[in-house]
Symmetry: C2
Subunit: 364 residues, 2 copies
């Protein structure tokens, strides 16, 4: 994988040298990441970039500085790959500030906000993910279940058994593609639970062992690494169930895992899992589990507004179950947390999930 | 440990029954957690509660409801211990809402904010930590190094080797005291680095193996679990070095690890490590590492204000190194991030730490 990134960086560099040698204006082409070029692929079921392209060129008053910055970023990433060392976009920013300052005006990169979009430009232009450029993103998320992780980074082979992690679980890293493999996957499905508290509750019950599933929590919104790992587990044929609060934030977490997000539309299907199904909690649960009616919370204005927005999305409108959910929450001005399932007994949350999966009582 | 908590809960219950049987007003005594009763113990070097006590009693218009709520919390925790199951304070809140709703006015607990101070009341009154009442707090923080974790919760013995965790490390749980042990500690010191990005950088360099240290990141502000684990490692005789940004947030992280915090003053020395030393980054580093001068950032108003406040603390004033640091940052209006050490090369951050420790170039 990394060799591929090196080759692509070098091809970009050679093209630019060729332009210069031939007296042409150095340039490269990237996909437009403007709002109008982000579209929902109805057939595939995820957000991706359209076909609009943009050219970045050096001899262009508006682009000259950014062009040079992007090439500096490419050179640094090439160096990181040669060194076989990783850093973050913050570390990259300081490397740029340090070395450009030596012989060039040091204000070339004064804010990290300047370098971030250029990294995306580079990712899109040469078709690699930043993880393949040895740039780590924020990591968050925990996993337990019947599978093993084989990490071969740093010339060392480490095998971690995700069924032997006690109370803690295995931390999901930023990069789940390079020098890492997932083996001996014996689970039947993947359960993604929004909150770490619920993950811990289910882990203590050894829910993943009893049900033979892989239990993941993104610990809130899923990072790139966690979204990518869910995609990879779906590629192994495992059904993916997502279990969140029934509120604006919970839905956002679900739809981001399922369809991707505007910000990462340029990564398209690589970080989206359209096969994912929504397990709960739902407002309709109130009909089945009477005790929940006294455990609801008042929906905030944000929740109501978000529900109203969601009702406008074409990919939501076509699912009457979601329309029904959203309309009930707007009308009743209530929301429901997954923690509420602990009301009758601490272990009830597991019973709830089992019944939902057994009856395939899930939303699309 | 847990048996102790059960016994203490039962003693509280029996005292109350005895009061009722004798026709006395049921009551219990707890330490006052008011600002005036939080003091800095100069000799020990941490924040703790003073000797002021407060009585909670049932036949008291102002306290009757809270008294009843506290007893309900105690009863629930007793049940959790009997069941050998854990939850969070959110899960406890829903259990209270559920069961009190059955035969009592269901508005008894309408907001979780009502139950939180009562949990602290209970912890202080009977002298146990919430972790011993089977209540998990938020967890965050990662560790790698030459030591093993033995987790015996849930009747199963799991041994995790913290030198065999690849790119991920071992996640620090909420409870590091019960049914868990830390063995085969071969490291010579503990290095706590504020940011996960820097932890990952050092972990990739196998810094902890080369230097034979335990490498921890609290991933920002340290949780109860991480603070408690640092305390326990210091109890094993390991020196503790803390490495943060040179800004308001970084200092706060350091002082919280070292002296505890106002919020957790009731836990006193259990979550404070006065032996901790501040490794960097410091404003004085600018004198030694010339390249850093072009990698500083403008200090925010919050940073300046916080530095001015810190100059007023008696435990800071007595350390001229800290006074010097703070005055330089106020005067220069600059701050410095630990990430900046990646400027000259990605591995420089390790060289920096090695030199600081070798020369004992640390702040108190």
């Amino acid at each position: 994988m990394e060799k591929k990134a090196v080759e692509k960086l070098e091809a970009l560099g050679k093209d630019i040298v060729r332009d210069i040698d031939s007296g042409r204006n150095p340039r490269f082409v990237t996909a437009a990441r403007t709002r109008s070029n982000i579209l929902f692929d109805k057939k595939e079921g995820f957000l991706k970039l359209g076909s609009a392209k943009e050219e970045r060129s050096f001899i262009n008053v508006a682009q000259s500085k950014r062009f040079m910055q992007t090439i500096a970023i490419a050179a640094k990433c090439h160096k990181f790959l040669a060194e076989d060392l990783h850093t973050t976009i913050r570390g990259l920013f300081y490397q740029l500030k340090f070395s450009l300052g030596e012989d060039v005006d040091e204000s070339i990169f004064s804010e990290q906000s300047e370098s971030n979009p250029l990294i995306e430009d580079l990712e899109v232009a040469i078709g690699v993910k930043r993880e393949e450029l040895n740039l780590n993103a924020t990591r968050r998320g925990v996993l337990a279940g019947n599978m093993k992780v084989v990490d071969t980074s740093g010339g060392e082979r480490v095998e971690m058994d995700c069924s032997r992690t006690g109370r803690t679980g295995w931390s999901i890293p930023s990069d789940v593609d390079n020098e890492i493999d997932f083996v001996d996957i014996k689970a039947k499905y993947v359960l993604v639970v929004e909150k770490d508290a619920i993950w811990q509750r289910l882990n203590e019950d050894k829910f993943w062992r009893k049900e033979n599933c892989i239990l993941i929590t993104p610990q809130g919104q899923a990072t790139r690494g966690t979204r990518r790992l869910i995609r990879k587990l779906a590629d192994r044929g495992l059904p993916i169930y997502v279990f969140t609060d029934s509120d604006a934030w919970g839905w956002y977490i679900y739809w981001t895992i399922k369809t991707g997000s505007i910000n990462l539309a340029y990564m398209g299907g690589g970080v989206a899992t359209p096969e994912a199904r929504f397990l709960g909690v739902t407002i309709s649960d109130l009909d089945k589990y009477k005790f929940l009616s006294k455990l609801t919370i008042k929906a905030s204005d944000v929740d109501i507004k978000r529900a109203q927005e969601m009702l406008q999305y074409e990919w939501i409108k076509k699912h009457k179950e979601w329309v029904n959910e959203l309309e009930r929450m707007i009308k009743g001005k209530i929301k429901l947390e997954q923690d509420a399932l602990q009301g009758p007994s601490l272990t009830f949350v597991g019973d709830y999930i089992r019944e939902k999966i057994k009856n395939n009582d899930v939303l699309p």
